[in-house]
Subunit: 143 residues, 2 copies
DNA sequence: TTCTTATAATTGGTATGCAAATTTTATGTA
DNA sequence: TACATAAAATTTGCATACCAATTATAAGAA
């Protein structure tokens, strides 16, 4: 085992790095023309779209400025549209296109596949504990 | 709990994202003038320096091209030096400066502090299992 | 020795991410 | 109404990361 991985922080970082690379590889192979960052945005929009950038930023834990670029690329690729918000000319509503909706099940299936790969060899009990520790980490770093 | 976090993959990604931000904040406050990426490189070099970029890239699980920039900034900040490799004019050896060595204990202490924050509220047994699952994830994504 | 192939490091292009600054529009106050 | 303040989105600048291409050098084969 590499020396740096004796640090739990670095182990976490590298696990995510490899997860990101694997996700990117799988998306490339799928032909969906979606990036890992876009995947998270779409996943959130599948549950609730027709919301502003600011609302979306809360849902996906990303800064507005990060979302601007992500939405630009998603819009260019035909997965979402910006439509005017009534009574507020500062903001837009982000809505899914038919193209996005038509790929929903494929996308969700791919995500399940990646999750399976990630958790291969771990028991239900281990996964349950893993989830609760990650949730605690998120809370710890937000306070 | 946010909807997107029902995906273990996204939960992992967001945990690391928050860890990264927290590390950046702590480093900023410390006045060390080191970035999170540089921290990992220094941590590895503390164990073994006087190695080439290629060797280092294996030790820190980063691409050569990523390391070039990181080493550039570390060199500029006076933490490392590139010295010529004897008998191979293509490569350099990366060595720590006295400045880097003088900050070693401060840096290691800061890392411990971040790890403590991260794992706050988790038991030894939970941490042990957490580590082993992360290691398995790393293996899963590398095969 | 010459040519091919491989290796070391860098550069350039793209995708995250954030913070700070900016632009435009709303809202609240005098 | 006029002005100050707030909010929504974007832009800019910086730090990761990767891949693909490039440059320089080394090593092996003919």
């Amino acid at each position: 085992m590499l020396q740096i991985l004796d640090s739990m922080c670095i182990l976490l970082a590298k696990s995510e790095q490899k997860h990101f690379s694997y996700t990117k590889k799988m998306l490339d192979q799928s032909g969906l023309e979606i990036s890992p960052g876009q995947l998270v945005v779409l996943y959130s929009l599948f549950t609730k779209d027709n919301i502003s950038i600011s609302e979306l930023s809360k849902n996906v834990l990303l800064d507005n400025s990060t979302l601007t670029g992500l939405i630009d690329r998603l819009e260019k690729a035909g997965f979402v549209m910006r439509i005017d918000t009534p009574n507020d000319r500062r903001s837009y509503q982000i809505i899914l296109t038919e193209k996005a909706k038509s790929h929903k099940s494929t996308i969700l299936q791919l995500m399940k596949q990646i999750e399976s790969k990630m958790l291969e060899g771990s028991s239900e009990a281990e996964i349950f504990m893993f989830r609760s520790i990650l949730q605690r980490i998120l809370i710890n770093f937000n306070s």
